[in-house]
Subunit: 163 residues, 2 copies
DNA sequence: TTTTTCACTTCTGATTTAGAAGCTAATCAA
DNA sequence: TTGATTAGCTTCTAAATCAGAAGTGAAAAA
């Protein structure tokens, strides 16, 4: 299990973090997005111990973020691929990557550039959008409780006077 | 320190995760985005121990994601607010929230709805955009190494034949 | 046939973490 | 002005976690 110390508040962010809110899980996913699909390649690149990598891959497969499939050609070998669910994490990773590139830059310069294959031009990055495609900022957006809201969480959200 | 076991590869994602790649850091940020600014409110809501909350707030302030400022009225009390750097994490949180809502839903129904204040309509969510505003998928985007790329990482990226 | 490779699993010592309790100073309530 | 309460920590200890080494079994290369 990735974490036992999850807050028991039933919150979408907490649930998501229960699966990917772990340093190695996201590093693994980043590399799978970048075309690394085997255990050996991931271990070499990440420098993580095999026990931890094995555990993370198991967790990610159990959460249906990755699928493990036999590699063609070598019967010992397996490949880890993103499911639809895993592919949906793409904005999370891109957002993290761009934030790290902007606020925690390397002294040597830009580490990575994300370009659109078709045009060869740099992409804009991850943004929060309105239905009509406008880019939204934190203060443009309000959070409304839905039917599945945890009552305890809702109480605390509304208790603190918005400042 | 949030973590000593960071992979020493100089990678934007790893650097970012060094700051926010921790369950509690992101939960704290989520709540600060939602208008919780004091130690007590955060602790009540998250159910985290004070030692952990204290350490996380310290880390987040050290990383300039949050600023700690004296609250008006009570000399004991402090308020934690997002810096520009912290506000830039908005797409990360929205992306995580929507992923959790979609793939790890509550049995009771939708927990949260994000609406645009101005129109009152639901927002689309976090997306990866091209310069001209088109929404991009993982396969539309290519990662190019820049001048700051870690040679070890670059070697491993190109070693594995892209599949 | 022997050796190497792949993808693990198990073990152990060392590190890291979380939660309980305690602390100090400011504020409230009488 | 005394006692209780609140805010924000810090310290301590027990528990969880991790890296690294060693080992496993099956497949592939030599």
């Amino acid at each position: 299990m990735t974490s036992k110390r999850l807050p028991d508040v039933d919150c979408a962010v907490a649930q998501a973090l229960g699966v990917v809110g772990d340093l190695w899980s996201l590093m693994v996913l980043r590399n799978v997005f970048n075309g690394m699909h085997t255990f050996a390649a991931l271990q070499d690149n990440l420098g993580v111990s095999s026990s931890v990598l094995s555990a993370r891959l198991k967790t990610l497969c159990a959460a249906k973020v990755l699928v493990r499939q036999a590699a063609t050609g070598d019967a010992r070998s397996f490949e880890y691929h993103l499911t639809e669910c895993g592919q949906d994490l793409y904005p999370v990773l891109i957002a993290l990557m761009q934030w790290g590139e902007k606020w925690l830059p390397s002294q040597r310069g830009k580490r990575l550039t994300l370009i659109e294959k078709r045009s060869g031009k740099a992409i804009l990055g991850a943004r929060v959008l309105a239905q009509d495609g406008r880019v939204l900022k934190p203060r443009d957006v309000k959070v409304l409780p839905g039917p599945g809201i945890d009552p305890a969480f809702h109480a605390l959200m509304t208790r603190t006077p918005a400042k």
